[in-house]
């Protein structure tokens, strides 16, 4: 199991050919109190870099981009009733979707934990 990060502050935890995707704690902190998460439907397909979800605070709405190409196999329905989970556990319980990876090679372009932390410090 390995976790990767994007410059747009998404994370993906990969197990086999399935990845779990969410936004980082850093991003959640910047956004403020999260009040709503709009998620795709199971079965939706997207390419790396597509916007596939929207995360909203009271005064802002941000698109969330797909870190890899794939199709959605599960969405985190619990976020509908408890969007605050994104602030409390962005990189844990507040995962957005699980995807079936279309191309594992895309992972090589992403950052590991240390690289992402260094990236955030530079912001």
């Amino acid at each position: 199991m390995t976790i990767y990060f994007t410059k747009d502050h998404e994370w993906i935890r990969v197990e086999g050919d399935t990845g779990t995707v969410g936004i980082t704690a850093y991003a959640a902190g910047q956004l403020g109190d999260v009040v709503y998460v709009e998620l795709p439907e199971t079965g939706a397909k997207f390419s790396k870099g597509d916007d596939f979800a929207v995360v909203e605070s009271v005064k802002a709405a941000s698109d969330v981009y797909a870190p890899v190409s794939g199709s959605v196999v599960e969405v985190n329905g619990a976020l509908a009733d408890a969007p605050e989970t994104v602030n409390a556990a962005a990189e844990g319980d507040a995962w957005f979707v699980r995807v079936k990876l279309a191309d594992r090679a895309e992972l090589s372009g992403l950052m590991d934990q240390a690289a992402y932390e260094a990236f955030c410090e530079g912001l």
């Binding site: 709503y36 709009e38 909203e56 605070s57 009271v58 005064k59 802002a60 709405a61």
Partner: protein, 447 residues
């Protein structure tokens, strides 16, 4: 100038503080050729209150007000009585001269009235949730159509043959600009039922109106069922809000979205505006709604309070991805609506609706008994279409000479509709037995 408080001395002192020689200094960024040296030519100079008032009264005197005689014009705007206290409330400075309630700590008055307005509209339409109002019924209808397209991710919009043609035009315009296809069913007095056959698998919504522009009331439940079977939505439209006291409301017919005109409650005719668009939908569609929403919350002391909410739908946050470009609502007209509705209560509205219906029944009976007149609207609330043996435009002109404003000729609304002999007439609680008698007497002279 009575509205400008600065004195010449003030201006000189302020320029000194600023470090500018004259007001000209502030306009140096304007291209020299576009800087006007003198006041704009061709317009008069300022005038005192008395002179302005005289002039406006003269203009107003060239119009015949609806209260000055028998008056039967409807077709989207209705002559109703507005209680004196409603206008007194509107003229309170705290409501009249305030801004959109973006600072809730000092806008709880506006916010609470909006929350009450939303609750009233939801109850009247029997829908889950209503917004804080739109410009008017026609633009609300257009917004409902594009909202249905967003919700269903489909591109076909179907309009009934009884939809008010101005509503149809506004809807067509906005939809086509967004690449949607608009299908207009043939104009028909009893045309709403045809929507039941119209939806297909590409349809985003069907739009029906009850009472429709010819006054016909229709239970759209079957239309809703057939639309839903195809995965389409029902948008239910009304132009006469008083009808909601008596006629089957959108929610009871299974409408997904309703858009209507609220002018009839609390608002005068005003020659067409400002009016107040009512907009409501099912709970699950709320995040696709256009316009402002007011919601309940608490303040730092734990006291109940209200704020504008779910604003990420709106242009000031979402910009090019907003659900609509609408910015303002129709705040003061919504206040007129909600305060009149508060005076009426549900019971009063029902009674008002009954009075409207009975006035229209009496008018239909009186006109329908005349030789050559045929009442065309099969089921109506306070408005109906009828055929005259003579050209409608000529009939209305002659009625006008007799002091009776007899209705709207259908050909004004449908120039290509082959309805040159059809008049649409409305009666309300303002209509008296004498008014109806005057109509009959005058019409007898003509036909």
């Amino acid at each position: 100038m009575r509205y400008l408080p600065l004195t010449p001395e003030d201006r000189a002192n302020m320029l000194a503080v600023i470090g500018a020689k004259s007001a000209e200094d502030f306009y140096t960024d304007v291209p020299a050729a576009a800087r006007l040296k003198t006041k704009i030519a061709g317009l008069p100079d300022h005038q005192g209150e008395l002179a302005v008032e005289r002039y406006m009264i003269k203009l107003a005197a060239r119009n015949r007000s609806a209260s000055s005689g028998p008056f039967f014009v409807g077709a989207g705007a209705y002559k109703h009585h507005v209680p004196a206290s409603v206008d007194m409330i509107l003229q309170r400075s705290e409501f009249l001269t305030t801004y959109t309630p973006y600072q809730p700590e000092i806008a709880q008055g506006t916010l609470q009235t909006l929350f009450e307005f939303q609750t009233q509209v939801a109850a009247l339409t029997a829908m889950d949730v209503a917004n804080a109002s739109m410009y008017d019924g026609s633009t609300a209808c257009a917004e409902a159509a594009v909202m249905a397209a967003r919700v269903t991710k489909r591109k076909k919009i179907i309009l009934s043959g009884g939809l008010h043609p101005h509503y149809a035009a506004a809807t067509r315009l906005l939809c086509e600009a967004q690449g949607l296809t608009v299908v207009q069913l043939p104009i028909a007095i009893d045309g709403e039922g045809a929507l039941a056959e119209a939806a297909d698998g590409e349809t985003a919504c069907v739009i029906g109106q009850s009472p429709n522009v010819f006054g016909t009331v229709t239970d759209l439940s079957d239309v809703a069922k057939s639309a839903h079977d195809k995965g389409a939505l029902l948008v239910s439209v009304f132009t006469e809000a008083v009808s909601l006291g008596l006629v089957t409301p959108p929610g009871e017919m299974g409408a997904d979205i309703t858009a209507g005109e609220g002018q009839s409650i609390g608002n005068g005719l005003n020659f067409g505006g400002p009016y107040v668009g009512l907009f409501a939908c099912k709970d699950k569609l709320v995040r696709q709604m256009p316009g402002r929403l007011c919601g309940e919350t608490v303040d730092a002391d734990g006291n109940r309070g209200f704020v504008l909410t779910l604003s990420t739908r709106e242009q000031h946050i979402r910009r090019d991805k907003a659900t609509s470009n609408i910015c303002t609502n129709s705040g003061l007209c919504a206040l007129a609506f909600t305060s009149h509705m508060t005076l009426l209560g549900g019971k009063g509205l029902k009674q008002l609706a009954e009075l409207n219906h009975e006035a229209a029944c009496e008018l239909a009976d009186a006109l329908g008994a005349m030789k050559g007149v045929e009442i065309l609207t099969p089921r109506f609330f306070n408005e109906f279409a009828f055929r005259t043996p003579v050209d409608a435009e000529a009939v209305l002109a002659m009625l006008d000479e007799a002091g009776v404003v007899g209705g709207v000729r259908a050909s004004r609304l449908f120039p290509d509709g082959h309805m040159g002999d059809v008049i649409i007439a409305a009666a309300t609680e303002c209509t008296t037995a004498d008014d109806i008698a005057a109509y009959v007497t005058a019409l007898k002279e003509i036909i």
